[in-house]
Symmetry: none
Subunit: 463 residues, 2 copies
C-alpha cells in the first residue's frame, strides 16, 4: 500500500472525526464584519491553531491591525529531499448570517441533513471557507496519523478578514515574507464544475467596494412643507446610481473598460467547450434574462468582464405604513468586480467623479473604501497545476476542467505581488451551496472527495 | 356698542380664564398614536364636551372604531333669520412628545414663558390643535356670556385621530351626514404669514403614497458567482426611480401633469407680492438650489405644483463594512404631492406603468397604496371667505394674504366630497411654533388675536 493509499484509507475510516472538528468550528460565529463578534473571530483562530498544533505544526495566533491570523509551519519529513515548500491559505471568518428569518436552522448550529446529493452540512461557513479549509486539515491529519509527519514542508496562513476585504493581510504578508517563503500557494475557496466534475480555477475577478453617503438638508424635513424645493437625498442617490449602467448592460463610469484585454482564443475555445447552460444557471435562481453586457458570452460575463452591483441601500423611513419625510441622508454600498488590466484605485476615482457629476450641487458625498483588489490570471503550464490535475483525475476518474471564477480572492494577488508565488486554486464548492446566503451548505460528498484530493495532491508533490 | 364689540371686550377682560381652560386641556396627554394614552384621549374629548355643554351646546362624546369624537350643536339664537350653519372642525389628539430629553419643560405641564413675541405657552399641543381650537371655543364663550346664545347655528366636530391619519373620521362623517349638515366648515389648523400678517389658506396639495417591492432572484446571491448575469433588484430599482425626474425637475411619469391648470393671474400676482425669500427658506435648512420644476416660481413649486419624493428606500446589506450580496428584494416608499386636476388613482396607475416599463423583464413589482388624496382649491369668491377676510382685516389692520399650503388636510377633502362643503382655513400658527417637535409653543398674541378674529368672523356671519 502506497503512503497516499494509506492516508486515504485512514481518512475514510475517520471521516466522522474530521466532520466533528469541522462542525465544532462552524459553531463559532466568526462574523468579521460585526465588531460584536471580535472575540468569536479570535476563538475561531484559536480553534484552527490548536488543530494544527496537534499535528506537529508550530502554530500561533498572530496579531494584525484587525482580526488575528493563524500562522503555522511544519518542516516536513526532515530526511532525504525536502520537496517543494507549500503555503496553504484559507480564512476562518464568515459573512453575516442575516436575514436570519430565512434560515431553516440556526446559522451557527450546524446540522447534517439529506439533500439531492446525499448528506450535507448546513451552517454559515459550511463551505466558505471553514468547510474547504477543514478538507485540507483532514488531509494533513491523515498524512500525520499514518506517517507521523507531513510529506513536504508546509506553512499555513488562515486569516480572519477575507469577508471584509483582507485589508490587514497584505501588511502582514509583507512583514513576514521570510516565514511565508514557499514554492506554491494552495487555496480551496473556489468551486467544482459540478458534483462529478472537478475544476481548477485559473482566473479570478478583483473587487472594489465603496460605501457612499449622500447628505442633503441639515435635518429631516416634512415633504408637505418642503417638497418641490428641498433636495431629497434618496431621489438624488437613485438618480446617480441608476445612471451607472445603460440598457445594454454596459457600465457608464468613464474609463471603466480601459486596458481590459479580451480573453485568448484558446481560452475562448476551452470555455465554449464547457457547454455552460445559461438558461439552467439563471432558471435555478428564478431568472431568465442576463443583465450584463449583451455582446459577450455568458461565461465572459461571469468570469472575464467587470460588473457593478449595488449590494445595499438605505435611507429615510423604512417602517410600516407611511411617513412623509424628506430625510437628510441616504446611503448605498456599491461593488465592482474587476478583471486583469483594470486598476482598482483608478476605478474608484472614476466612480467618485461619476457620482459628483451626477448629483445636484447641494448634495454632499462621502465615500468609504472597503476593498481594492485586482483581477488575476494564473499560468496553466506549471508543475504544481499539473500535480493538482493528476490528483483530481485520480480521485474523480476524469480530467479537471480549467475554469474562471467571477469571485475575488484578493490575497492571491498579494501572494503573487509580494511573495512571487502562484496559487493552485483547487476548490470543491457547488453552485447551489448558497454561499453568503441563508442556509449555506456543503455536500458531504464534496467534503470527503475534496479531502481525498488534497491527500492525493500531497502525494503527488512529495519527493 | 355692537354685539361683536361687546364680545371682544368680554374676551379681553376674561383672557386669563380662556388661557386656564386651554392649559388645563394641554395637561391631558392625548397622544393618539400610543395605546397607553387611550384613556387620556377620552379625557381630552370629555374636557371639550364639558366646555361646549357649559355654553348651551348639546354635546356628546361619540364612539368610532378608534378614539372617540366630540359632536356638539347649538341651534343659534332661534329668533329671526337663523343665519348660515357653521361646522367647526378641530382635533384634540397630539403627536408623541419624544424625544423627551430635548424639551426644556415637561411636554404635558404647560408653562407661560417669555419669547421674542412676548408671552408664549410651551406644551405638546400648545398650537396643534388644542391651542387653535381653544381660540374658537373662547370666541364662542365671549358670544355666549354676552348674548346668552350663539350668533348662528353651530355644529362642532373635534376628532382624536388627526395625527394618525384620521382613518375613522370619513366613516363617521358618512354615517352622520344629517347631523353634520352645514353651509361652511371653519378650521383653524394652518398658519399666518407672519405674526403681524394674517392669512387664509386657499389651496392644499393632495397626497399619493405608494410602497414598491421589487423582487429579482429567488434568493440572495454572491456577487462574485452571479455578478454580470443575475438581475440585481437594487440596481433595477435605482434605475427606475432615478428616471422619474429629469435634470430640470420635471416628473417623467406619463400623464403626470394632465389636467393641471396654471394658477390664475390674480393668484400669481398675489403670490408674487408676498416677497417670499427662497434664499432664506433654503438657507435655513442648509441648501441653496431648488430641485423642482425650474420654469416655476418658488411658491408655485411649494403650493401649486406636484412633487415626487422618495421617503424611504432599503435593500441588501445595511450593516457596517462590506457584504458582496446580490439581494433578492429591494423596497422604496414614494409619495406624490398632488394639485387640483390630478386624479390620485390615475397618478398611481401611471406610476405603476412607468415602473413596469423601466425595470427588466425578470423584475417582479408589488405595490402597496397608503393614501390617495386629491389636491384642493378653495373658491376665493365665496361670501364665507369674504367674511373671514373682513374679520382679519379688522383685527390686524391690514388685509389677510391668500396663501397656499404644500401639505394636506385630508378631512377638508372629506367634507367637500361627503358633505358638499367648502372650508375656511383660518389659522394662527407661526413657522417657528415647533409643531410635532420638542418645545411646541403658541404665542399668546396669536392666541388672543386669533380668538378675537373668530369673534369677528361670527359677527360677520350673524344675520
Amino acid at each position: 500500500m502506497s503512503r497516499t493509499d494509506a492516508a486515504l484509507a485512514h481518512l475514510d475510516a475517520h471521516l466522522d472525526a474530521a466532520m466533528s472538528r469541522w462542525m465544532e468550528w462552524l459553531r463559532i460565529p466568526s462574523v468579521s464584519a460585526q465588531p460584536a463578534h471580535a472575540a468569536d473571530c479570535r476563538r475561531a483562530a484559536e480553534h484552527a491553531r490548536a488543530d494544527l498544533a496537534s499535528m506537529g505544526f508550530t502554530a500561533e495566533v498572530r496579531e494584525t491591525a484587525g482580526h488575528p491570523v493563524v500562522l503555522a509551519s511544519h518542516p516536513g519529513p526532515g530526511t532525504g529531499k525536502p520537496g517543494p515548500r507549500l503555503l496553504y491559505y484559507g480564512h476562518y471568518d464568515v459573512q453575516p448570517a442575516d436575514p436570519l428569518e430565512l434560515w431553516t436552522s440556526p446559522p451557527f448550529e450546524p446540522v447534517v441533513v439529506e439533500g439531492k446529493n446525499g448528506k450535507r452540512v448546513v451552517a454559515r461557513g459550511a463551505v466558505d471557507d471553514k468547510g474547504q479549509v477543514s478538507m485540507w486539515l483532514a488531509a494533513f491529519r491523515a498524512w500525520y496519523e499514518t506517517t507521523g509527519t507531513m510529506p513536504c514542508p508546509i506553512t499555513v496562513l488562515i486569516e480572519g478578514e477575507e469577508e471584509v476585504g483582507s485589508l490587514n493581510l497584505a501588511p502582514f504578508v509583507i512583514a513576514h515574507k521570510k516565514e511565508l517563503a514557499a514554492d506554491i500557494v494552495v487555496v480551496s475557496d473556489t468551486g467544482m464544475w459540478d458534483i462529478d466534475t472537478p475544476a481548477l480555477t485559473t482566473s479570478l475577478r478583483g473587487l472594489c467596494y465603496v460605501e457612499v453617503k449622500l447628505t442633503a438638508a441639515n435635518r429631516d424635513l416634512h415633504s408637505g412643507v418642503y417638497g418641490g424645493e428641498a433636495l431629497n437625498p434618496i431621489n438624488a442617490l437613485t438618480r446617480a446610481l441608476g445612471a451607472i449602467r445603460d440598457a445594454k448592460g454596459r457600465i457608464l463610469v468613464p474609463g471603466f473598460y480601459d486596458n481590459i484585454r479580451d480573453i485568448s482564443p484558446r481560452k475562448a475555445n476551452q470555455w465554449a467547450s464547457l457547454g455552460f447552460d445559461e438558461h439552467e444557471f439563471l432558471g435555478d435562481i428564478g431568472l431568465s434574462v442576463p443583465v450584463g453586457e449583451q455582446d459577450r458570452t455568458p461565461l465572459e460575463r461571469l468570469w472575464a468582464r467587470p460588473t457593478c452591483d449595488i449590494n445595499g441601500i438605505w435611507g429615510g423611513y423604512m417602517g410600516p405604513g407611511s411617513k412623509t419625510v424628506i430625510p437628510s441622508e441616504a446611503f448605498a454600498k456599491i461593488s465592482f468586480r474587476l478583471v486583469p488590466g483594470q486598476d482598482p484605485a483608478r476605478v474608484v476615482e472614476n466612480f467618485k467623479a461619476f457620482m459628483h457629476a451626477n448629483v445636484p450641487a447641494d448634495a454632499k458625498l462621502d465615500f468609504t473604501i472597503f476593498g481594492l483588489g485586482e483581477g488575476l490570471e494564473i499560468p496553466t503550464d506549471s508543475r504544481f497545476l499539473a500535480a493538482a490535475e493528476k490528483a483530481l483525475a485520480a480521485e474523480y476518474g476524469k480530467p479537471a476542467l480549467l475554469i474562471g471564477s467571477g469571485g475575488s480572492i484578493p490575497v492571491v494577488e498579494t501572494f503573487r505581488k509580494e511573495l512571487g508565488l502562484d496559487s493552485v486554486l483547487m476548490g470543491f464548492g457547488l453552485d447551489d451551496d448558497q454561499v453568503h446566503s441563508p442556509n449555506e451548505k456543503f455536500d458531504l460528498r464534496c467534503f470527503h472527495k475534496g479531502a481525498r484530493s488534497h491527500i492525493r495532491l500531497l502525494g503527488e508533490l512529495a519527493p
